[in-house]
């Protein structure tokens, strides 16, 4: 089973078209292995990015350097997945 320990999901609120374009370059790049849960299209909609632990520092620095506002939506993806798995197993036992 693939694990996501330390991975975060960042919620980015771009303020301008220029920032949207910067986020598109981030989306098109393959270096950081990002998974865009929602995509950069307009400053009206937030952009959620699943960032692997190994890329966290670089991505956060990119956002800060370009003054793109963001906050951490999911602190540790694996923790959430572990909880979901526990719930599933508990319910399966209950149902079984």
């Amino acid at each position: 089973r693939k694990v996501f320990t330390g991975d975060q999901v960042l919620r980015v609120n771009a303020k301008s078209e220029a920032q949207i374009q910067l986020l598109k370059t981030l989306e098109n790049g393959e270096v950081f292995k990002l998974d865009f849960w929602t995509h950069p299209s307009s400053s009206d909609l937030p952009i959620d990015i699943h960032v692997p632990y190994a890329s966290l520092y670089a991505v956060q620095k990119f956002l800060q350097d370009n003054e793109i506002p963001f906050h951490v939506m999911i602190q540790d993806l694996q923790e959430l997945l572990d909880k979901e798995q526990e719930d599933l197993q508990r319910n399966a036992v209950k149902g079984g």
């Binding site: 693939k2 996501f4 929602t38 950069p40 719930d87 209950k94």
Partner: protein, 307 residues
């Protein structure tokens, strides 16, 4: 059985398929299970057909879970199937709808991907097909339809989450649905249920041009969202895919609209800003309940506006 089935939790594929049999057994005069083909990994693809009889009646298509990690979509569809079955004969609106039209509900549109999210990678989105010449697997089944195929908002890179595949309808999961819709020939609505971000969308995605029925679909969508929001105040946006999210080619509702199914919509269910694809199970029933109100409004409109 369907009464003891826990709709407030997520389930594995085998449990869902077993539940389908219970649904059919519990409502033999209303529901049948139709196998429309098999997935890439040879899992059966089932549709629950709600029908009170008649031959080739006008029909409504609803699919959920085309993107496998969007578990809330499938979980909501399970609840809504049960709601439609139990409301038949009780709720005049549902009774009238099923008296005139058939409803085809596909609860797990991407069974290989769904199974994979339960066993290997919870964040898997695509199908599980092998891509020739690449180590990366899967096609984005919502970029593979013959609607601006290969255009903006889809990737030619097999490693991308939005890989459109080698050709339109190359994904067997897509082709099976296309064949069913075309062979049937009398679908009046095509509704696709996704997650997340709280949107109700209509075509187009592959172009930002307005569809000919833009005003009507926008109006239907806004009223559907009013109904949806009336329960918990959940805020939805309404618009065309291209204008409300981003330009995306090869999508299912663009294909259905271009093939004559006027009432083509896509839902993006909860949430916004806390859990993304990992919506906790205690949100399933509230999400399904509110979505049902929006969905029912669309179905009622389709029933009352034959074309």
């Amino acid at each position: 059985d369907t009464k003891s089935f826990d709709y407030a939790t997520y389930h594995r594929l085998d449990a869902i398929y077993s539940w389908m049999d219970s649904m059919v057994a519990g409502h033999p005069n209303l529901i049948s299970k139709v196998q429309i083909g098999s997935s890439y990994e040879n899992r059966p693809m089932y549709v629950l057909k709600f029908s009170t009889g008649g031959n080739n009646r006008p029909a409504i298509w609803i699919d959920a879970g085309i993107h496998s990690r969007e578990w809330i979509s499938t979980a909501s569809a399970l609840w809504m199937a049960n709601k439609m079955a139990t409301d038949f004969g009780v709720d005049p609106s549902v009774t009238s709808l099923l008296g005139k039209m058939d409803v085809y509900l596909m609860i797990v549109t991407n069974p290989d991907g769904y199974a994979y999210t339960h066993t290997n990678d919870r964040m898997w989105r695509k199908t599980r097909s092998v891509n020739s010449g690449s180590t990366c697997r899967g096609v984005d089944p919502n970029r593979n339809w013959d609607a601006g195929f290969g255009g903006p908002g889809a990737s030619k890179n097999p490693c991308s989450e939005s890989y459109h595949g080698p050709s339109a309808h190359s994904a067997i999961e897509v082709k099976n649905i296309v064949d069913l819709i075309k062979n049937h020939g009398n679908f009046k609505a095509f509704i696709s249920i996704h997650a997340y971000s709280q949107l109700l969308m209509y075509p187009y995605g592959y172009t930002c041009n307005d569809i000919p029925h833009q005003a009507e679909l926008d109006s239907v969508g806004r009223r559907a969202v009013q109904a949806l929001s009336s329960l918990y105040g959940t805020s939805y946006r309404v618009g065309s895919i291209c204008k409300i999210i981003y330009q995306a080619s090869g999508g299912s509702i663009d294909w259905s609209y271009n093939n004559g199914v006027k009432y083509s919509f896509a839902f993006e269910l909860r949430d916004t800003g806390r859990y993304g694809f990992l919506l906790p199970a205690n949100q399933i029933i509230p999400t399904a309940t509110e979505t049902w109100l929006g969905l029912k409004h669309i179905m009622e409109y389709v029933r009352d506006h034959p074309y």
